[in-house]
């Protein structure tokens, strides 16, 4: 009987440390599938960030450099400039990319570095125990916003896919979610497009993937999944914000 579904070869055959209902595992799988489909596993160099995503090297069977908090786009710049033939991507969370690493992401994008950034937005600092992130929703209670995020005091959640799309150096920017089969299929398509830009040497590509964090949201996996499709998708609208070559 023909095999129609299998583990991507870019993923290791191991269990992940991710909590039940977390979307990291699903996003890992989509990234690995896309790498397999472009045949780039052997020349891929992943840049791990700080947070739940740091264990990139435990799950992907590719070469990996671990970056300091927020600095993955700068590390990726060094890697890609030194080895232009490599397939280089960063995998970063919202605290990493949109708070401590804002400068690095904006300038790597603005230089049009030939890399892909996978940005997982779960509206909280997961690894450190659910503190307020730059993407935390207004009113959302976290361990450092016990009265809910206040727009007047904390600002509004940053929309990174839209923000980066405005930069000249960005070729592709999209926001996706993996909370439903339909969104998941679309997410796969956008990740592949983002990778195609790099494979064809056509510049900086950015994927923002909304993710559930049931543990830190204090929700059951199903509730958390539902929140992604309702509250998060209402504010963080899914879609392609830039696609300069219509790849």
């Amino acid at each position: 009987m023909p095999q129609i579904f299998k583990r991507p070869t870019s993923l290791k055959d191991v269990q992940t440390h991710f909590c039940s209902g977390c979307h990291h595992g699903t996003i890992h799988r989509l990234v690995a599938e896309a790498m397999d489909e472009f045949g780039v596993q052997g020349r891929a160099i992943g840049i791990a960030s700080v947070g739940c995503s740091v264990f990139l090297y435990s799950y992907f069977d590719i070469d990996v450099v671990e970056a300091p908090h927020g600095r993955a786009p700068a590390v990726a710049t060094g890697v890609k400039r030194a080895r232009p033939g490599s397939f280089v991507f960063t995998y970063q969370g919202d605290g990493d990319l949109a708070a401590i690493g804002t400068s690095e992401i904006i300038h790597a994008a603005n230089r049009g570095e030939d890399i892909t950034v996978i940005f997982v937005n779960n509206t909280t600092y997961g690894m450190t125990g659910g503190q307020m992130a730059p993407t935390t929703m207004v009113g959302q209670r976290t361990s450092t916003s016990p009265y809910g995020r206040m727009k007047e005091k904390d600002g509004a959640p940053l929309r990174m896919a839209e923000l980066l799309a405005q930069l000249e150096g960005v070729s592709f920017s999209a926001r996706v979610a993996v909370n439903s089969p339909r969104n998941l299929m679309d997410a796969k398509k956008q990740i592949k497009t983002a990778f195609r830009y790099q494979v064809e040497g056509k510049g900086f590509s950015f994927i923002e993937a909304l993710s559930a964090c049931p543990t830190n949201w204090g929700m059951k996996p199903l509730q958390a999944n539902e929140r992604v499709g309702t509250e998060l998708c209402d504010y963080f609208r899914l879609g392609v914000y830039k696609n300069i070559m219509e790849l």
Partner: protein, 351 residues
């Protein structure tokens, strides 16, 4: 005929880096080191390399981390405030066992301080300026020629010991023009960089990281780093001993300060005072054995620094028992650079 050039210390650093095979430079403008990025921005593109003026010192050191992780020779340079910002990346490079050269053309501080020569960043450089209890190799040139030669050495030592290496200089040596013989890159037996990430191809995955969470993993990693520091102390100490054979008083100083001290020693010799100079060239590893040996005979040593006393701690730990250790130094700032006559006065005082 050997070619002789007349160049600035900063230019000598850049020229040496290129001769050593460095083709990747990442930096940010700051006085008094901007000649280095300026030189690299002109030369590296012609050589098929990459020059990036980074958005910040932090980004620059992390670009260095990324490039070094692929196995190429790469560098960054800065001064005081910029070196402070780079400490995060330097700690990660030390933890990830990455080579790479960082040039510190030190300026005066703390804070924005000023742009005058200073040795007040000795502690930051040699004691591991970032978090986590590590060391990096620190070389202290005292001439434009040494800026050149020690930069090439820094690349070799960084590769051999898989750790960052720093050139610790200041605006006196960086901005001064002197004759330079652009020596060829010395022959060195260098290890192959099997650990570098280049894409796994058909082979095994390679990981460059500093996170170790498993029981006992990080302690073992730190002992490995510690043992490497011990090996450095054993094999790589370098120093200059000048007229120490018959000295009744030893003067010790490094970098630009050692040059002023040398002039003062020559003035003292003209007066018949038997004074010699012990100049550490490697600040980490600190040439402790040279101090012990020289002070086993000459029991007086005067440490002179362009700060209020930092290297003195290492000097005290290194001299043989019963050695009298004196100190003269002035904290950095415009007008604080001592004259040879000022140092001669100190020599007379302690002779």
């Amino acid at each position: 005929m050997t070619k002789r050039l007349f160049v600035k210390g900063n230019e000598a650093v850049a020229m040496a880096a290129i001769e050593a095979g460095c083709r990747y430079y990442f930096g940010y403008p700051i006085t008094p080191q901007s000649d280095i990025p300026e030189y690299m921005s002109a030369e590296l593109p012609r050589l098929g390399g990459e020059f990036i003026q980074a958005e910040s010192e932090i980004a620059a050191v992390n670009m260095l981390l990324g490039a070094s992780a692929t196995g190429v020779r790469a560098m960054t340079s800065s001064s005081g405030p910029g070196i402070s910002l780079k400490q995060e990346g330097i700690s990660y490079m030390a933890g990830s066992e990455l080579p790479g050269v960082i040039v510190d053309i030190a300026r005066s501080g703390p804070g924005l301080g000023g742009i005058d020569a200073s040795q007040a960043d000795y502690f930051q450089a040699v004691k591991g300026g970032g978090h986590g209890g590590y060391h990096i190799i620190v070389l202290a040139p005292a001439s434009v020629q040494e800026m050149y030669d020690l930069t090439m050495l820094a690349f070799d030592l960084a590769d051999i010991y898989r750790m960052p290496a720093m050139i610790l200089s200041d605006s006196v040596i960086g901005q001064m023009k002197e004759a330079l013989i652009p020596n060829r890159r010395p022959e060195a037996e260098l290890p192959s960089k099997e650990w570098a990430v280049r894409g796994k191809g058909e082979g095994d995955q390679r990981i460059v990281k500093s996170l170790y969470l498993g029981d006992g993993e990080l302690e073992a990693h730190n002992w490995k780093l510690h043992n490497r520091y011990c090996e450095l102390k054993e094999k790589e100490c370098r120093w200059e001993a000048f007229r120490t054979e018959d000295a009744d008083l030893l003067v010790t100083a490094f970098g630009s300060c050692a040059r002023i001290a040398k002039t003062a020693i020559m003035l003292a010799r003209e007066e018949g005072l038997k004074v010699g100079l012990l100049r550490p060239v490697t600040l980490f590893p600190f040439p402790a054995a040279a101090y012990e040996e020289l002070t086993s005979r000459c029991k007086k040593i005067l440490d002179i620094e362009l700060n209020a006393g930092q290297m003195i701690e290492d000097v005290r730990l290194s001299v043989s028992p019963d050695t009298e250790v004196f100190f003269y130094g002035r904290p950095p700032g415009t007008g604080s650079l001592p004259t040879p006559e000022e140092l001669l006065e100190q020599i007379r005082k302690h002779y």
